[in-house]
């Protein structure tokens, strides 16, 4: 699980172009949207692509992301339970 969280942080920084951030800067329990990293709706869509591309998880509805992207930890738990690759 710890490895997955670390891996996810790196992937998020890369796909969302979070310039100047390192995995250590991301609190795995902090909200990804709103306060936290200040991500927007396009970032949420890009995280949906990340889940499909890297873990084989396909979300049909962007609204499903709201629960899953609460924090890196919640996202990692979801991936752990649903990944197909």
């Amino acid at each position: 699980m710890e490895n997955l969280i670390e891996e996810l942080k790196k992937e998020i920084i890369e796909v969302l172009n979070l310039e100047g951030m390192t995995p250590a800067d991301i609190d795995e329990n902090a909200p990804l949207f709103g306060e936290g990293l200040g991500l927007d709706s396009i970032d949420a869509l890009e995280l949906i692509v990340l889940m499909e591309k890297n873990y084989g998880i396909k979300l049909q509805n962007a609204n499903e992301g709201k629960e899953i992207f609460k924090s890196v930890k919640v996202m990692a738990e979801y991936i752990n339970a649903h990944r197909t690759k």
């Binding site: 796909v15 969302l16 172009n17 979070l18 310039e19 100047g20 200040g38 927007d40 709706s41 396009i42 970032d43 869509l45 890009e46 949906i48 692509v49 499909e52 591309k53 509805n61 962007a62």
Partner: protein
């Protein structure tokens, strides 16, 4: 004020305005479910031409068979041919100017050039070939302002007729659907899996459609062909309110401002209806309802044509004005197909059934990516006596200038900075650091927007305006050659390989040229008009005229304007601040 003297719609519902009117008046829709079309792995619901129909129709036109036109060019030519014949205008006359509105033109050629020359995906190239087909000697004007392009092109036509020596403007809007466009909207999760339901409480997103539409506008009322009614584009306005590149403000600031401008001095009880953009996305329809509430238009019937044609992108603003004009001529307000239970942020009077009307005007509203909003007022019969704002277009003053190339930048104070990198992307990051900017969004931008925002920061600082104070009388006018082609290629790479097909929403959102203008509007809170034109080269005289036209026709006191091009790693930016 300019006059529609001939028009045409080419869509899956018909080849002329009359055929399209008959189809929609009978309640027909071009929207269908498709699967395994256009190389898309997922099914979609759209309005598409039957395969081969365009070619079949096009072969009947007289033309030089040596020129192999693309689908979007053929649609544009078919549409303009019929509109010009209706208007009785000779397109080879030097007093005629072509105005082409498209969002993506020949973007499908990025997947495979299919023997076309490498310049063919450039929007100016298609426009030149279309104008040349008709023997027109003038360089066409190309408007690419995302979803509002078709309405922005009509605003541009009014200026060309008022302030330049043209007598007729042929405004053509056209877009074809491709894997590129549909996959992008799918990645946004914005498409409805069923027929769209504009203004419905349970609306599920938009449908896309393909079409071309043309209006031939005349400067003088005397040029209306004998026996034809007086169809008048009485007013038009464009206002930006971007707070995010994917759309206008939730409180409808820009659309409300544009509506107020076009209805200034007009008695709204004379409006037969409002033709909304009505895309059936939750956000758009809510926003439009708020604009109507703020403008006291909630008693006026409102309809959306998206349930008949889908969102036809660069054609939408032209097609919907033509169809709405037909509604006035037939004394009938069309129903909003798909709306069963209206439900929007503000309660509006959605036309759910066809309604009779004896009124003679409608308001067109449209909004889109990059924060653009446009409103048009169209009348049938005796035009309103509203005083025209037309001031003599004087020479605007340049307050600041900055340039960025692949290797160097010249700041407004004359300081020259040189790149230490051979990589242009790296060079843009160097400039960001040199300016000491703290704008993390910068790193999410495509290179076109990065280059534009850096140059904008330089000139805005030079005039002490690089802040977030609301600037309601500031606008943006940009030109370039490549539109968003650099980003288009990046996006294409995400869908090219079927084994590695992951359409990227964060790349797709930048595949519109005017997004850079939207980024400028967001950063400095510029709330006036934003316009984006495409031309082969930077023609400074035409550019200055466009700037002067905006000053003459809008409330803008300052314009952030210039040439912002980024193509194949090459950066060419010249930005100015003009003062009225």
């Amino acid at each position: 004020m300019i006059f529609n003297i001939g028009d045409n719609i080419v869509s899956p519902l018909g080849w002329t305005t009359a055929e399209n009117w008959s189809a929609v008046a009978a309640g027909h829709s071009g929207l269908r479910p498709y699967s395994h079309r256009l190389g898309l792995p997922e099914p979609f619901f759209s309005s598409l031409f039957d395969q081969g129909k365009i070619d079949e129709k096009f072969l009947k036109l007289p033309y030089n068979q040596e020129e192999n036109y693309t689908k979007v060019e053929k649609m544009a030519i078919l549409s303009a041919t019929d509109a010009l014949a209706n208007a009785g205008v000779n397109p080879a006359d030097p007093q005629v100017i072509f105005v082409f509105s498209t969002t993506k033109g020949n973007v499908e050629l990025l997947e495979d050039l299919r023997g076309y020359e490498p310049e063919r995906p450039y929007l100016w190239r298609s426009a030149q070939l279309i104008a040349r087909y008709f023997g027109n000697p003038n360089e066409p004007v190309v408007v690419s302002n995302a979803c509002i392009s078709g309405c922005a092109a009509q605003v541009a036509a009014a200026r060309l007729l008022h302030y330049h020596d043209y007598r007729y403007a042929v405004v053509i809007g056209a877009d074809v659907l491709s894997k590129f466009i549909i996959s992008g909207f799918q990645s946004f999760k914005a498409l409805s899996p069923e027929q769209c339901r504009p203004f419905d409480v349970d609306r599920t997103g938009l449908n896309l459609g393909e079409a071309a539409a043309t209006i031939v506008y005349a400067r003088h009322r005397a040029d209306i062909p004998a026996g034809k009614p007086c169809l008048c584009l009485a007013a038009g306005a464009i206002c930006n309110d971007a707070n995010h590149i994917s759309g206008p403000s939730r409180t409808a600031e820009g659309l409300f401002a544009a509506v107020l401008q076009v209805l200034d001095g007009f008695d709204v009880t004379d409006l037969a209806f409002v033709n909304a953009h009505g895309t059936a996305t939750r956000y758009n329809d809510d926003m439009e309802s708020v604009a109507m509430e703020r403008a006291n238009l909630t008693d006026i019937p409102v309809n959306s044509l998206k349930g008949y044609f889908g969102h036809t992108l660069g054609a939408a603003g032209v097609l919907e004005v033509i169809l709405s004009t037909q509604e006035l001529l037939h004394h009938r307000v069309l129903r909003t197909v798909g709306c069963e239970n209206p439900g929007t942020a503000a309660a509006v009077r959605v036309a759910q059934q066809p309604m009779e009307t004896s009124k003679t005007a409608f308001l067109k509203m449209i909004s889109g990516f990059g924060g653009g909003n446009a409103a048009l007022l169209v009348t049938v019969g005796e035009p309103p006596a509203a005083a025209e704002k037309a001031e003599a277009a004087g020479e605007p003053r340049i307050l600041a200038e900055a340039n960025i190339s692949d290797t160097a930048a010249i700041l407004p104070d004359g300081t020259r900075l040189s790149s230490t990198s051979s990589d242009t992307k790296q060079w843009l990051s160097e400039l960001y650091n040199h300016l000491g900017m703290a704008y993390p969004k910068f790193f999410k931008m495509d290179c076109l927007s990065k280059a534009g925002i850096l140059a904008a920061e330089m000139v805005m600082r030079a005039v002490g305006q690089a802040n977030e104070d609301l600037k309601s009388d500031w606008g943006v006018v940009c030109f370039n050659s490549a539109a968003s082609l650099d980003d288009d290629r990046t996006y294409q790479a995400t869908i090219q390989d079927p084994e590695n097909y992951f359409p990227s929403p964060s790349v797709f959102v930048y595949t519109l040229a005017n997004i850079v203008a939207g980024e400028m509007a967001i950063k400095y809170k510029l709330r006036g008009e934003t316009s984006f034109y495409i031309s082969e080269h930077f023609d400074k005289e035409k550019f200055k005229k466009a700037v002067a036209d905006v000053f003459a026709q809008t409330n803008a006191k300052h314009l952030l304007a210039g040439w912002v091009d980024y193509d194949n790693g090459h950066c060419d930016v010249q930005i100015f601040i003009f003062e009225k």
